[in-house]
Assembly symmetry: C2
Homo-oligomer: 196 residues x 2
Amino acid sequence: MAMQIYGDRVSGNCLKVKWTADKLGLAYVWIQTDVLQAQSRTPQFLALNPAGQVPMVVLEDGRPLAQSNAIILHLAQASDLIPADAYDRARMLEWMFWEQYSHEPYIAVARFQRLLLGRPADQIERRLMERGHAALARMALQLDQTPFLVGAALSLADVALVAYTRTAHEGGFDLSAYPSVGAWVARVEAALGIAP
Amino acid sequence: MAMQIYGDRVSGNCLKVKWTADKLGLAYVWIQTDVLQAQSRTPQFLALNPAGQVPMVVLEDGRPLAQSNAIILHLAQASDLIPADAYDRARMLEWMFWEQYSHEPYIAVARFQRLLLGRPADQIERRLMERGHAALARMALQLDQTPFLVGAALSLADVALVAYTRTAHEGGFDLSAYPSVGAWVARVEAALGIAP
């Protein structure tokens, strides 16, 4: 049985899994799961992932796995999306944990409120915007120096971070203030074969 | 040069690093870094970790590494704190990413507001408490079935999750409603040699 990916195409977290599977040439069935319609809260879904979150995959052997970054680390094991050097691998993980803690909760949430809930710009909490800009500035510090987040080569850190950075403008963040970040988005999209 | 751990002893995220280093018998120097005093925002600190967050370690070779879960994954590589089985390893990572996204932002933040900012119980945002309880209920579902989060053996998932679960009462969460979680806290404290 091919791997099943339960995901919502508007979710950057879900797209990370799709891009990684596509990049690695893995076979899968995409099961569109609409979070706003509570399709991740059905008894059938909760039996597979009690956290009620997408993305969630059911692996070829029928076992479930959740959390976008845990899924892509599993799918990409032993591929060149994970650096061979131990310190580079640790830095990749640093970026991936930072993404879920200090980037997604601001940049993805601002986008969600504007794009999907239709909230006007002046009703987005100021703290979201300030911390989102701090996250972009921190990425720029690195990307002023290296083409990818962990140096010269594409890694899962780029897959994880590009997901919501490439749609940051939909949350009101103007990437033209961070030229090295904008150039990196284009570079990662090209490497992953994602249409801009 | 021994590894340096920049951390604050009141922070569960920082204690994860200390416990892992202690369990593995690694030599280190603890550099107490008071976040409320902005000691993680000095130019010297920001040069090592532009995110301005603790814990942060400077490895023996002088290179920095941040993000609690990335640090403990690096320190514990090739130890039995990381399961040898690929699926168990993926589940461990699932718990660790879930911890930073769906547990810490509620359970640690409620504790921070009550214990460190002195805010009274009725001024803690209701959403923090609801989501904190949802996190504890999700852990209980697993720990009703297995002694540790990834089955029969202690792993970094337990180290990561015990950090703020063991002090959840300081944020107003009564663990007696989750007996399997309370028993697991004692089990992990014993395995790590932490005084209850």
